[in-house]
């Protein structure tokens, strides 16, 4: 338990504890409001749609919120000092070296993907994907009020991405990752000398296809196997289109928007899939080429 307290009481980790409580609280709160709206047949927000004057109604709320936040911030700043460690020393690497907490989700992704995917390609897709949301979500309902029934896919996808793939990975990176980025329980003492056997293998090995020959050259069969798997994964996009293209939702969405939605969705789901493959089956790579590995 001593180690858990050590992590939690680190000044820079307090925001994560704060974030965790706020995220859980707000999620429960908004789902409660959404389900209430869905079940009662009218919107709570519509009952409050009459016009009121900004002075004093809104300015008062802003003033009180300002007071509230400033009181918390000043108390927080009086009680807890921002960390200041030893002077910077490029020759002394701390173990573990952790990025600032809001990037720990990305650092955790490095376990499952090479840096060019985890550190560059996926973050770029996160930003582009977020920006694309208003243009690919063609559902006109649910504009300006809490609802779940009217936009299940959108709400579930966003919650999965934000709560699991972003917040939960930050928590995992903070509390469960110790020296060498190995997995430790939060209450477990960090063993800096832990040795973990490198038993990860490439996916093709499970099917008896060796990635490399004895002279370390790539086995073309393994490359073909990997390319086929990845193409097969993204081939789900046209396959699903063929199956559903006559449904109302697909007609409304159109081919271009459908392809963007499906591509972004499958790319997002590639992360949990790779996590399961790595954790359950010790899979290192799905595709190995001379230039990059996936």
């Amino acid at each position: 338990m001593h180690n858990l307290w050590e992590i939690v009481s680190k000044p820079d980790n307090i925001p994560i504890v704060l974030l965790l409580f706020m995220v859980i609280g707000y999620t429960l709160w908004s789902f409660k409001k959404a389900l209430k709206n869905d079940n009662q047949g009218f919107l709570d927000e519509s009952k409050l749609s009459d016009k009121i004057q900004v002075w004093p109604s809104l300015v008062r709320v802003e003033f009180l919120a300002t007071l509230f936040v400033m009181v918390i911030l000043v108390f927080w700043s009086f009680l807890i000092d921002a960390p200041l460690e030893e002077p910077a020393n490029p020759t002394l690497t701390p173990n573990p070296s952790k990025a600032p907490w809001y990037f720990l989700g990305l650092q955790e992704m490095l376990v499952y993907f090479d840096p060019w995917i985890a550190g560059v390609v996926l973050p770029t897709f996160i930003i582009i994907g977020l920006m694309a949301i208003p243009y690919i979500d063609i559902n006109e309902k649910g504009n300006g009020y809490y609802t779940f029934k009217e936009r299940k896919f959108a709400v579930l996808t966003y919650c999965f991405g934000f709560l699991i793939l972003w917040v939960a990975l930050i928590v995992l990176g903070t509390f469960w990752r110790g020296p060498g980025w190995y997995f430790f329980f939060p209450w477990e003492e960090w063993d800096t000398h832990r040795v973990v056997a490198l038993t990860n293998v490439d996916l093709s090995e499970l099917f008896g296809i060796h990635t490399r020959a004895a002279d370390n050259s790539l086995n073309p069969m393994a490359v073909i196997f990997g390319v086929a798997l990845i193409l097969g994964y993204y081939a789900l996009i046209p396959l699903y289109w063929m199956k559903k293209k006559n449904s109302d939702i697909m007609k409304k969405l159109g081919a271009v928007k459908y392809n963007i939605v499906a591509f972004l969705f499958l790319t997002m789901m590639a992360l949990p899939i790779k996590m399961v493959l790595r954790i359950a089956l010790n899979i290192k790579y799905i595709l190995v080429t001379p230039w990059f590995n996936i």
Binding site: S49, A65, E86, S97, W116, V120, I133, Y146, F162
Partner: protein, 258 residues
């Protein structure tokens, strides 16, 4: 006393500053907003649900408040901090031990920065759950995503400035990713084939060297104190102005008209 106040209120100086009296009339309530450059960000009248903290969580406004706190405390910190590797850490020690209210100002800056990252993410979560990015507010969501990225960059560049072990290694871990940028990084796919080396790739441009060193400190300082805040302010202006133009905050009835 009362007479003196009345006299004072009749003077030319008073009248030139305060354009209306303070009797509680609808006209004066409206003038209070319209005649004030800061409050004029708001419309005169809004829907009641827009003031409901259960609907908005207040997260957008709190984010802006924290940005203002960060600007003010940040300027004060700049009086005590020199962005050179020889001085930076010494200045931090000086600030934390010898400057009156130095620790308070620095702590407020640090904790407000962390809090701002949280409130930005929660604001985005709320906007998504209420479907507020839907027409006509699509582009404002895009501006919001840019502001999220700018907030993270501001926080990340500020993380280096104390120039202690925590700072230098967190930034080393973060910027090491840039090595692996496809085409532009020397360890990324097709990087080496296209002539990228450790001393000419994208990470080198970012750090001003092959590792996190004094040039990096200066780059991050300028980015943190000048470049990024200006860019973020510009996008914030657009963000707020668009909220007004799109009919205030979203609601079931207020789409398109103010």
């Amino acid at each position: 006393m009362l007479k003196l106040r009345e006299k004072l209120q009749q003077t030319e100086v008073w009248k030139s500053i305060f354009r209306h009296n303070y009797q509680d009339t609808n006209r004066n309530r409206a003038l209070q907003i319209v005649d004030n450059v800061f409050l004029h960000l708001h419309p005169v009248r809004i829907s009641r649900h827009a003031t409901n903290i259960g609907f908005t969580w207040g997260m957008g406004g709190i984010t802006f408040l924290l940005f203002l706190v960060l600007t003010i405390t940040g300027v004060i910190l700049m009086f005590y901090y020199r962005p050179a590797a020889e001085y930076a850490y010494e200045d931090m020690k000086y600030l934390m031990n010898d400057v009156a209210f130095g620790p308070l100002i620095r702590n407020m800056h640090r904790w407000a920065a962390h809090a701002m990252v949280i409130t930005v993410m929660l604001h985005m979560f709320r906007v998504f759950l209420t479907g507020s990015y839907k027409p006509p507010r699509q582009f404002n969501w895009v501006v919001g995503v840019l502001l999220l990225v700018l907030t993270l960059l501001l926080s990340f560049t500020g993380y280096l400035l104390p120039w202690d072990q925590l700072a230098i290694w967190a930034v080393t871990v973060g910027t090491n990713m840039a090595r692996a940028t496809p085409i532009l990084g020397h360890e990324g796919p097709f990087g080496a084939e296209l002539g990228m080396r450790i001393d000419n790739d994208i990470r080198f441009v970012l750090l001003g060297g092959t590792q996190v060193g004094p040039p990096t400190l200066l780059r991050f300082y300028v980015g943190h104190c000048i470049f990024l805040p200006i860019i973020a302010s510009i996008f914030m202006i657009v963000h707020f102005w668009r909220i007004r133009k799109d009919g205030g905050i979203s609601g079931p009835t207020s789409n398109g008209q103010e």
